[in-house]
C-alpha cells in the first residue's frame, strides 16, 4: 500500500513508516506532500493518509499515530510497546513519559535541520528506530562506564 502524510517529518511521521514497513506491510511506500494536499493526493494515489487530523490513522487523545497503529494491528512485541512510549513522549512533548524521549527529540529535530529531503530524512530515521529496537530488545540492561584517574 501507499501511505501519505504531511511533509517535513520529524518523529511520528518517521517512526510510523518504520513500524509499518517492519511490522504491518513490507511493501509499503511512503509519500510526503504539503499539509493541505494530503487528502486530495491520498484519493488520487489511493494512498492511506496518516498523522493528520481527520484521518483514521492519527492522534487519539494523548496517544500519537504510532500508538494507533500498534493498537489497530495488535502489535504485542514488548519492544514495540516501549518504543511507542518513547515516540509518544517525544512527539507530544511529554518528555516525562520516557527518559529516552528528550534525546530522541533532540536528535530528530537536528536531523530534520540537516536533511531537507524528506526521503533522505526517512532513510536515516529508519536506522534510528532500528537502533532503538535493538537497544530495547538486546542492549537495554547494558551499562557503560570506565574511568582513569589523574595521578
Amino acid at each position: 500500500m501507499k501511505w501519505i502524510t504531511r511533509e517535513r517529518p520529524k518523529i511520528d511521521r518517521i517512526a510510523c513508516p518504520w513500524l509499518i514497513k517492519n511490522f504491518v506491510d513490507k511493501e509499503a511506500e511512503f509519500i510526503y506532500v504539503p499539509k493541505d494536499e494530503v487528502f486530495n493526493k491520498a484519493k488520487e494515489l489511493q494512498a492511506i493518509p496518516y498523522d493528520i487530523p481527520g484521518a483514521e490513522y492519527t492522534h487519539e487523545g494523548d496517544f500519537c499515530t504510532f500508538d494507533y497503529i500498534v493498537k489497530k494491528h495488535r502489535l504485542l512485541d514488548p519492544s514495540i510497546l516501549q518504543i511507542a512510549r518513547i515516540v509518544r513522549a517525544a512527539d507530544t512533548n511529554s518528555f516525562h513519559l520516557a527518559p529516552q524521549a528528550a534525546g530522541l527529540w533532540a536528535i530528530s529535530a537536528g536531523l530534520s535541520v540537516n536533511h531537507k529531503d524528506d526521503h533522505a530524512m526517512l532513510a536515516i530515521g529508519m536506522k534510528i528506530y532500528d537502533a532503538l529496537y535493538s537497544w530495547s530488545k538486546y542492549a537495554q540492561d547494558e551499562t557503560h562506564t570506565w574511568q582513569s584517574k589523574k595521578i
Binding site: 512533548n93 529516552q100 527529540w105 533532540a106 537536528g110 536506522k127 537502533a131 538486546y138
Partner: protein, 284 residues
C-alpha cells in the same frame, strides 16, 4: 593526523572523532584496534591514542575524553558545551546530568548492536552528533506538537502542574536538584552545569537556592552533604581518611580536614577517635 583507539566504539569513541574532524583537524583519520593493541599500533602508525586509560586524551575524574578535547583545544562554541554534558552523561552512565543522555545512549547502543563494522558505525554515528549539534545550536528551545489542540492541552496541563507545585511550594526543579545533588555529591558539581541541565538561569538558581535548601547557598549545602556522608563513612570503619576525602568529593586531604572541622568542630581523625571510643564504651 591519525588517531587510534579501542574497537567497538559506542559514545566517546564516536563523539571524539566527530569533534576532532569538525573542530580540530579536518584531515583526521581514525583507527580502531583491539584494546591491548592501541599503544603498540599508535607507535607503529604514528597515531595519537585516545580514550584509553593512561594516555593524554582520556577520562579525567568525572569528565570524559570529549571534555578533555574541548578543554585542550579551548573550544568555546556554547553548542559544544551543551553537547559535552550530553556525551558525558551517556558515556559515564550519569543520565541524570542531561535529559538527552538516555536517548543518545539507547540509540548509540542499538546502532552498535546493528552495525558490526566500526568504520560504518563511525560514519553513521557522526550523523547523530551532526544532528545533536544542529539541535543545540538552533532548536534547543523549540517544542514539538502536532496541532493547536495539543498546544491548548499542554498549556492547561502546564498550568495545572504549576498550580499544583505552587500549592506544594516546592517547585519541580527543587526536587530534581535535590536528587541530582544527592546522587552526585562525590563529583565536581558546579552551579553553572547544574543550572544548564535543569534549564534554569544560573543566577536565578543561585538566588532561589537558599529559599528551598535551609537557607544554605549551593556550595554550603553540598559541603554539608559531603560532611554528612564523610561522618557516615567514618562510622563504617572501612575506609582510611584519605579514601573518605576522595569518596566525598574533596580534591585534597587538607581541604577535607578544614571543612570537616568547620562543620563539626573537630578534625576527622579526632572525630573518628572519639566515635570509636564512644562506641567501644557502649559495647563494653
Amino acid at each position: 593526523m591519525k588517531w587510534i583507539t579501542r574497537e567497538s566504539p559506542k559514545i566517546d569513541r564516536i563523539a571524539c572523532p566527530w569533534l576532532i574532524r569538525n573542530f580540530v583537524d579536518r584531515e583526521a583519520e581514525f583507527i580502531y584496534v583491539p584494546a591491548e593493541m592501541v599503544r603498540e599500533k599508535a607507535k607503529d602508525l604514528d597515531a595519537i591514542p585516545f580514550d584509553i586509560p593512561g594516555v593524554e586524551f582520556s577520562h579525567y575524574e568525572d569528565k570524559c575524553t570529549f571534555d578533555y578535547i574541548i578543554e585542550k583545544y579551548k573550544l568555546t562554541d556554547p553548542a559544544l558545551n551543551t553537547l559535552a554534558v550530553i556525551v558525558r552523561g551517556a558515556d559515564t552512565d550519569r543520565h541524570d546530568i542531561a535529559s538527552q543522555a538516555s536517548g543518545l545512549w539507547a540509540i548509540s547502543a542499538g546502532l552498535a548492536y546493528n552495525i558490526k563494522d566500526d568504520y560504518v558505525l563511525l560514519e553513521r554515528g557522526m550523523m547523530l552528533y551532526d544532528a545533536l549539534y544542529s539541535w543545540a545550536k538552533h532548536l534547543q528551545k523549540e517544542k514539538h506538537t502536532q496541532n493547536p489542540v495539543d498546544h491548548i492541552f499542554i498549556d492547561v496541563y502546564n498550568k495545572f502542574i504549576k498550580q499544583k507545585s505552587l500549592k506544594r511550594k516546592t517547585p519541580d526543579w527543587v526536587r530534581e536538584l535535590r536528587q541530582i545533588i544527592q546522587d552526585q555529591v562525590d563529583s565536581n558539581l558546579n552551579l553553572t552545569e547544574v543550572s544548564k541541565s535543569l534549564d534554569i538561569n544560573p543566577s536565578y538558581l543561585s538566588r532561589e537556592f537558599s529559599k528551598h535548601f535551609n537557607n544554605l547557598s549551593f556550595g554550603e549545602y553540598i559541603r554539608k552533604l559531603r560532611i554528612e556522608k564523610a561522618i557516615e563513612l567514618i562510622k563504617q570503619k572501612k575506609y582510611a581518611l584519605t579514601e573518605i576525602a576522595y569518596l566525598t568529593g574533596f580534591s585534597d586531604q587538607s581541604h577535607f580536614t578544614r571543612i570537616f572541622k568547620q562543620h563539626t568542630g573537630k578534625s576527622p581523625s579526632a572525630y573518628r577517635k572519639e566515635w570509636e571510643k564512644g562506641n567501644a564504651n557502649t559495647k563494653g
